[in-house]
């Protein structure tokens, strides 16, 4: 099959890839259980950082896809701090995922609703994040109506080893 030079160039630069491609070789579920007080409590505009992760470091892996599991995909979020309810699609419309590097430069800012598979025709969100600092990555909400310590956020992070 003939491929146009533009498609070839964009594929080589890792700007596009076939939709049927898998997101990554490996998958890690990252949980963010919210709490009533402290670093993981929810407030308007408050940045909730991810915990440092020994696997998700940019010297070892490239993040090739991210997905948010919402309430209609899976109701319960099982964490070491106890079960939480996953956030709904309606709450996700009011939140952002922020990816930063070691200099705290914001590489990407993506609305949470855009990471939910069932809201986007089942098409995964492909990424190519090879310069990031996971503990500098965060989420925040512009409106916390309906959000409490009973909720949590479940991210499926797809990655390839370098």
């Amino acid at each position: 099959m003939q491929v146009s030079p533009l498609v070839e160039k964009m594929t080589q630069n890792r700007w596009i890839r076939p939709v049927e491609g898998r997101q990554g070789e490996f998958l890690k579920s990252v949980y963010l259980p919210f709490t009533a007080t402290g670093n993981f409590s929810v407030a308007v505009g408050k940045t909730i950082y991810f915990q440092p992760d020994a696997t998700l470091t940019s010297d070892k892996v490239v993040i090739t896809g991210i997905e948010l599991v919402d309430l209609s995909t899976n109701t319960v979020l099982p964490t070491a701090q106890g079960d939480r309810a996953n956030i709904t699609a309606d709450i996700a419309k009011r939140g952002y995922f922020v990816l930063s590097n070691s200099k705290r430069e914001i590489i990407a800012q993506i609305p949470l609703a855009c990471l939910i598979l069932n809201l986007n025709g089942g098409r995964p969100t492909f990424t190519y994040f090879d310069d990031f600092q996971w503990e500098n990555c965060s989420i925040y909400f512009q409106d916390i109506t309906g959000l409490s310590a009973a909720n949590g956020a479940w991210f499926k992070v797809f990655y390839n080893k370098k």
């Binding site: 099959m1 533009l6 498609v7 160039k9 964009m10 594929t11 630069n13 890792r14 700007w15 596009i16 890839r17 076939p18 939709v19 049927e20 419309k93 009011r94 952002y96 590489i107 990407a108 800012q109 993506i110 609305p111 609703a113 855009c114 809201l119 986007n120 025709g121 089942g122 098409r123 995964p124 969100t125 492909f126 990424t127 190519y128 994040f129 512009q142 409106d143």
Partner: protein
């Protein structure tokens, strides 16, 4: 040849049409590409004053996007179904059918002219992003225009995520 033979027979075509469409669908699925996010920046054009048709509402400047080595290769629009409020606090537009977007590059060329806002929303395209030929843009020259003001209020924001890379 066999497909054209079936087409000639009307009754047979009624039977064959679903299979033919399915084969086309599978072929498109196999050859279609989707965007990879490498870097992104949320940008917005705020509807200042009473919404009016034909008026150009320019994008708010984002210094990050002024780099000469920046290549924009995709975008995604947001209505309230995807995003309630932009990072700067403006409410996103709730209607998607009365807005068109125009992007201009650093040579003032309108390389994307009056594209319907509806089309840029990923959820309206079965999860497919709008992919562009990579270009350096001049964001403050880019604008949105309203073709219908119904459902749009002053202070609403037409927001997009621009996907780019530094080369």
């Amino acid at each position: 040849m066999s497909v054209f033979f079936i087409v000639q027979k009307k009754s047979a075509w009624r039977f064959a049409r679903p299979f033919f469409c399915y084969i086309c669908y599978v072929y498109i699925q196999q050859t279609m590409n989707n965007l990879i996010i490498k870097r992104s920046q949320i940008v917005e054009a705020v509807i200042n004053g009473t919404p009016a048709t034909g008026v150009r509402y320019y994008f708010t400047d984002v210094p990050n996007l002024a780099a000469n080595n920046l290549r924009l290769f995709g975008l995604e629009g947001f209505s309230t179904a995807q995003l309630a409020t932009t990072p700067t606090g403006y409410t996103c537009v709730s209607t998607t059918t009365g807005i068109v977007v125009t992007l201009r590059d650093t040579n003032k060329v309108e390389f994307l002219y009056q594209m319907p806002f509806y089309t840029t929303i990923r959820a309206n395209n079965y999860g497919a992003y709008t992919i562009l030929q990579p270009r350096t843009i001049n964001l403050t020259d880019c604008y949105v225009t309203l073709t219908n003001t119904t459902g749009i209020s002053s202070g609403n924001s037409v927001a997009f995520n621009l996907y780019y890379d530094l080369v």
